[in-house]
Symmetry: C2
Subunit: 399 residues, 2 copies
Amino acid sequence: MDTINIGLFGLGTVGSGFYKVINMAHNAHARIAGICVRNLNKQRDITLEPGILTNNPDDILCNPEINLIVEVIDDAEQAFSIVKRALEKGIPVVSGNKAMIATHLPQLIELQRKYNTALLYDASSCGSIPVIRNLEEYYDNDLLLEVKGILNGSSNYILSQVFDHGQNYRHALCKAQELGFAETDPSFDIKGFDSLFKLVIITVHALGVYVEPQRVFTFGIDSIHDTDIEYAREKNVKIKLVAQVFKTCANKFTMFVMPELVRPERYIYSVDDEYNGVVIRGRCYDRQFMFGKGAGALPTASSILSDVMARRHNYKYEYKKMAFSPRPEYTTDVDLKIYCSFSSTRIDELLPFREITEKYISQNRNYITGYISLQQLIKNRQLLDAPDVFIANIETPRF
Amino acid sequence: MDTINIGLFGLGTVGSGFYKVINMAHNAHARIAGICVRNLNKQRDITLEPGILTNNPDDILCNPEINLIVEVIDDAEQAFSIVKRALEKGIPVVSGNKAMIATHLPQLIELQRKYNTALLYDASSCGSIPVIRNLEEYYDNDLLLEVKGILNGSSNYILSQVFDHGQNYRHALCKAQELGFAETDPSFDIKGFDSLFKLVIITVHALGVYVEPQRVFTFGIDSIHDTDIEYAREKNVKIKLVAQVFKTCANKFTMFVMPELVRPERYIYSVDDEYNGVVIRGRCYDRQFMFGKGAGALPTASSILSDVMARRHNYKYEYKKMAFSPRPEYTTDVDLKIYCSFSSTRIDELLPFREITEKYISQNRNYITGYISLQQLIKNRQLLDAPDVFIANIETPRF
């Protein structure tokens, strides 16, 4: 591969960012040969070569000059159909679409094998932090015990605004969208789905096991109440949206996305604003912490550049841990200590806690803390989905 | 390569740690087939297979079963001769010996090319943090501007003891040695040579340029004075031993190892004890921070395990940036703002500051702050080596 001739799908925030970044990276010997967009006539703030735009995917996929596809469109199903077609033609793909990847990963792995080509997606998880690559290449052994972090820059930005700058939740959400940190559909960020998809991808590379997104307990920050923020302040903790996967014993692991009451001595406590931070824990090396911008056009685009350049050396994910024997098994049979606040829904009577450690009832708002299994949280999902209910993880057991 | 049969040179702190780690990593499909030590009769705290020890390097290097050498001995020149012989025989090597690598890197690169084999040494820099691999594989483009960090766990442990626990410097040094953080010769750590060697290696992978260690300004912490610690406390900064390489303009870079007055808002401010922390700065992604245990047997051994497993996939460093065009040029023509304290040596009269910003003279101890070029620091090295002189970097220009 002498020059990398890129076919780019999508010219939104990340796509435009990538267009700028590729023009700074002379030693990449890469150029954008064609761009497929939905709307040809949209006003754009970058100057494009004439004739480079098309709205017909075939103009890119059937262009024999193009030897790499970069896919950064918004729609997950459309993205999947493009990526699938590219892989079937043997064209390697770099993608940042976590929803698409998390949902279709087994099929995408199979397509890579069948057509002997590659799909790289480090940009899909944690923007500019090379989490996937490091899990795949460096933490590629039996020592890994846990990956835990703040994976969504937008919800973290909102919580930082609320916590550190005393802003109102709605206002903070609008500001995040203005700054280009939030996805078009904000529920993707604040309901925890963005973190969930990233966690599903991370788990494949951390432990070699694919768990369907719908099997993973996911609770967002959209039902957070002023009293929760007061509670956290009183206890000198911050509420962060945390995604985690960890071994519960030698041959089992669990995973979930949930707000967490984070104490100041934790690494992720100081991950504020649009930043992401990931803690990788293992036997022997204890904890490692990686920290960087997790949202924004240019940080994500620079991560895509890293994947593009990796193709210069024919790099592909080997999914080595999927061949590990034995592989750990996914379980939800794990006890968590949680905080749960509510108004009208009588959580204290309805949710089967194994042990209640605190209960506060007032005219305004109530909360309870105690031990409950993750299984029970999943079973009682409907109860937790009541708009007056908010939960946060306090403590998880560690292996 | 079905099973990796390792020939291990050295069974000191790191060697014994590696022996333990390899026995935990079943999916590595690697075993230690032979160990070369200096003293066969030394008492050791690990149980070895009978007949596995030898004191004759040839028993390892000429054993046709052995397909990987792990070299973790203390002596740099002896290490070089072993690594050279292994590479000449086409046997790949994993090494943690920063002095050896930093001193002989051009020749080691040439040997790898000539004999089409590999030398991996991620464990040589920052223990368990995958800095080299990430610079080589992920930050492998034109965007990189700076790598800066605390690269020596032992001197950082000592400074933390002094700063945060009010300990005496000598006592802290002894404790570091007891805990196995310090090298056999402590001057290696506290005079900054360990950081220097790591910085030389990092610079090859960050910017594609090899700079001989003796050309790099290196100042340690061994002449630190109680009044320096008081000064730092008053100013609400910590003194850390910092290694850095950064671009001064589009086509030039500089590098040095020097104590630094680090402000609380900096990432490295909170890197305490035996931890290492590295900040990677680039266009587009701004700053990324990696943090983890930088010293100790098991963290370093787990890093060696990562390099061993990388060989399963025939991984080798490509030294890609050495082929970048143009490569930036090393310069010492850069102005630094420094703090310099002294007793009898009249630094204020002898050191050619471009601008003096503060001067404090007392019966006890004196200090001066001001701007001076790195070139002048190198020229006046002898002056700075007077035992009553201590310097620390306050500010560096940024491109």
